[in-house]
C-alpha cells in the first residue's frame, strides 16, 4: 500500500509508512486514509510489476511493522493492545494480499503460492476481529462480527452469479485465444504449402504431367503433416523408406505407395536395404511407363527385414537384359550382397518385382 503510494508520487516508501503510523497514532485519521487509498489501490498493479523485488518488499513490510511496534511501545501497552497491534496485523495482511499479481486464482505463484492469500486473508480477518473486540468488548464484538458476517455472506451471495459469469467468460476467452492460435498455425502452413502448389498448378495448367506431379508431391507432404508421427527422415527403417519413396515420387513421374509393417532401428544393414530399395523404385519409375504405380512393402520382423518393390510395367526378363543394366546388378544385387543380404528380381507379364532380404545379424 505504502509502496504504491510512494511509487505513484515518487516519495520514499519509508516516509509514507512513517506518516501513516503517525497519523494512526494521532487520531485515527490514518485508518480512514488507509481505507480510502485501499479503494484506489488497483493503480498499484501497473506500478509494481517487478516480481524480483518481492522479497525486498516483504522485508520492508517486516521492518516497518517492527518499527511501528517499537514506536507504539513508547506510548504504552494499552494503545498497542487496542489499536496498533490489530491495525498492524490488518495492514500486513492487506499488504500480503496486494503483493499478489492480481486476483486470478490461476495466477502462478510457485510451490507456496497458495500460502500467501491464506496468510493475508487470515491476518486481515484477525486484525478486524481484534479491532472490533478491542473497541467494544467480547460480547458486543462477537455480535457485531456476526452481523458483519451475515452482511458479507449476503453480499457474496448477491455477487456470486456475476463472479461465476466473469470467471467463465475469462475461461472461454482463453480457449478462444488458443483456438485462434491453432487456426493461425494451420493457416500459415496451408499458405506455405497448398496455396503455393495451387499457384504452381495454375501456372502449369497446360502440362498435365507436371500438374499431376505437383499434386502428388503436395498430397504426400500434406498427408505426412496431418498423419505422420514426428520423426526425422533417417531415424528408422520405415521413416527412411517413406522418405526415399517421396524423393523418387517427386523426381520421377510415378506414384509410390509404401506399406510398412513393423520397424527397425537405423543401422548399416538397414541403410543398405533402403538404398537398394530406392534404386529399385527409381528403376521401376523409369521403366514402368509414365504415371506408374509402384508398390513398396516392407516387413521388419524379429528374424530380419524384407522389402518388396513392385511395378506394373511391361515386365522383362532380368537375365536377358542384365548385361546393360548396371543399375540392377550393381546398385541392387551387389549392394545387398556386400551388406550380407540378398536380392532377387522377378519379372512377369504383370510387372516386375524386386525382392530384398536382410537376415538379422546374430
Amino acid at each position: 500500500m505504502g509502496t504504491g503510494l510512494a511509487a505513484n508520487f515518487g516519495w520514499p516508501v519509508a516516509l509514507v509508512r512513517m506518516a501513516f503510523v503517525v497519523l494512526v497514532l494521532a487520531n485515527g485519521l490514518g485508518v480512514i486514509l488507509y481505507m480510502a487509498l485501499w479503494v484506489v489501490m488497483p493503480l498499484r498493479r501497473e506500478a509494481a510489476q517487478d516480481r524480483d523485488a518481492d522479497f525486498g518488499r516483504m522485508l520492508a513490510f517486516g521492518a516497518v511493522a517492527v518499527g511501528a511496534a517499537a514506536f507504539a511501545y513508547a506510548f504504552g501497552w494499552s494503545a498497542l493492545r487496542i489499536w496498533i497491534a490489530p491495525l498492524l496485523v490488518l495492514g500486513l495482511g492487506l499488504a500480503i494480499l496486494w503483493q499478489q499479481s492480481g486476483w486470478s486464482p490461476t495466477a502462478r505463484g510457485g510451490r507456496f503460492g497458495w500460502a500467501r492469500p491464506v496468510l493475508g486473508i487470515g491476518l486481515v480477518v484477525g486484525g478486524i476481529v481484534a479491532l472490533v473486540v478491542g473497541e467494544v468488548g467480547w460480547f458486543q464484538g462477537v455480535r457485531a462480527i456476526g452481523v458483519l458476517l451475515l452482511f458479507l455472506g449476503g453480499a457474496a451471495l448477491l455477487a456470486s452469479p456475476w463472479l461465476v459469469n466473469a470467471y467463465t467468460d475469462l475461461a472461454a476467452e482463453r480457449r478462444t485465444r488458443i483456438r485462434e492460435q491453432e487456426r493461425m498455425d494451420i493457416a500459415a502452413h496451408v499458405h506455405d504449402s497448398v496455396l503455393q502448389t495451387l499457384t504452381l498448378i495454375q501456372a502449369n495448367a497446360a502440362d498435365s504431367d507436371q500438374v499431376s506431379r505437383l499434386a502428388r508431391t503436395e498430397e504426400r507432404r500434406l498427408r505426412s503433416w496431418l498423419y505422420a508421427p514426428v520423426a526425422g527422415e533417417q531415424e528408422s527403417l520405415a521413416a527412411a523408406l517413406t522418405h526415399t519413396a517421396a524423393k523418387v515420387e517427386s523426381e520421377h513421374d510415378a506414384a509410390v505407395e509404401v506399406v510398412n509393417v513393423g520397424d527397425a532401428p537405423w543401422s548399416p544393414a538397414t541403410e543398405a536395404i533402403v538404398a537398394a530399395a530406392g534404386e529399385a523404385m527409381v528403376n521401376a519409375a523409369k521403366h514402368a511407363g509414365p504415371r506408374a504405380t509402384i508398390s513398396v512393402y516392407c516387413e521388419a520382423a524379429d528374424d530380419g527385414v524384407s522389402v518388396f518393390v513392385r511395378d506394373r510395367g511391361p515386365g522383362f526378363d532380368p537375365a536377358a537384359v542384365a548385361a546393360d543394366r548396371r543399375g540392377i546388378r550393381e546398385s541392387i544385387v551387389g549392394r545387398m550382397e556386400r551388406a550380407g543380404g540378398s536380392a532377387e528380381v522377378v519379372g512377369s507379364p504383370g510387372g516386375t518385382e524386386v525382392r530384398l532380404r536382410m537376415e538379422r545379424e546374430v
Partner: protein, 210 residues
C-alpha cells in the same frame, strides 16, 4: 444383374466423379452428403452397396454404419477415404464395412471393388493389408483364441495384397484358386471385425468406437 449403389460423400465433385466412372452394371440410385441424409437414403433405397466416405459432416462414416446397423444383412458397405490413418480405417471396418479403398483408386479398380463387396467378398487395399499384418503381428498377449491370430496362409495372402498384388495374381503366386484367396480374405475380415486384440481395441478406442 445390376448392382444398386448409394454414394455418400460430402464433396459433390467426388460424388459426380465416382458416378461418372461407373460401368453399366453398377447403377447409382442415390447420393448423400451427410450422416442424416445418408441414413435416410439408404433406408429408403435399400441398395446392394454403399460407398461411404469415412469423414462426413455431422458425425463420421461410422455414424452412418451405426445408423444402418439393422440393414447390414442386405446392404454392404465399402469405405472410401483419403485418409491413411489406421484408426479411421480399422474403425469403419470393425463397425461392419466389408472393405476399404483410397480415393485415388482408378475407376476400373473401384468398379471391381464394388462388385466384389456386392458378392459378399472383402476388399483390402495394400495399406489396409499392412495394418492387418501390423495388428496381428506377434503372439496375442492374453488369449489364444482363433480370432486373435492369422493362419500362415492368411498372412501369406495379406502380404501379397500389401505388396500390390491383385487377387488373381496372389492366387497365381500361391498356386491356389481365386476363390480360395477370397475365402482367406473373408476370414481375415471377420477376425478384423471380431477380434479383441489389444492393437485393434486401441485403434477402436482412439476413435471412440468401442
Amino acid at each position: 444383374m445390376t448392382i444398386r449403389l448409394v454414394v455418400v460423400d460430402d464433396h459433390a465433385l467426388v460424388r459426380s466423379g465416382v458416378i461418372a466412372g461407373l460401368p453399366d452394371d453398377i447403377e447409382a440410385v442415390a447420393e448423400a452428403e451427410d450422416v442424416d441424409s445418408a441414413v435416410r437414403a439408404i433406408s429408403r433405397t435399400l441398395p446392394d452397396v454403399v460407398l461411404l466416405d469415412v469423414h462426413l459432416p455431422g458425425g463420421d462414416g461410422p455414424a452412418v454404419l451405426s445408423g444402418c446397423a439393422a440393414l447390414l444383412e442386405g446392404t454392404r458397405f465399402l469405405a472410401l477415404s483419403v485418409s491413411d490413418a489406421a484408426e479411421d480405417v480399422i474403425g469403419v471396418v470393425r463397425l461392419g464395412a466389408r472393405g476399404y479403398v483410397t480415393k485415388n483408386i482408378s475407376p476400373a479398380d473401384l468398379a471391381d471393388a464394388i462388385r466384389r463387396v456386392a458378392a459378399g467378398d472383402a476388399v483390402f487395399s495394400p495399406r489396409l493389408a499392412g495394418f492387418v499384418l501390423d495388428a496381428f503381428h506377434g503372439a496375442p498377449a492374453q488369449s489364444d483364441e482363433e480370432l486373435d491370430r492369422l493362419t500362415a496362409r492368411e498372412k501369406d495372402v495379406m502380404r501379397l495384397i500389401a505388396r500390390g498384388y491383385t487377387y488373381r495374381e496372389a492366387a497365381g503366386e500361391l498356386v491356389v484358386s481365386v476363390k480360395t484367396v477370397e475365402t482367406h480374405m473373408s476370414a481375415v475380415l471377420r477376425k478384423l471385425q471380431l477380434s479383441n486384440r489389444h492393437e485393434l481395441a486401441r485403434w477402436a478406442r482412439a476413435r471412440r468406437f468401442v
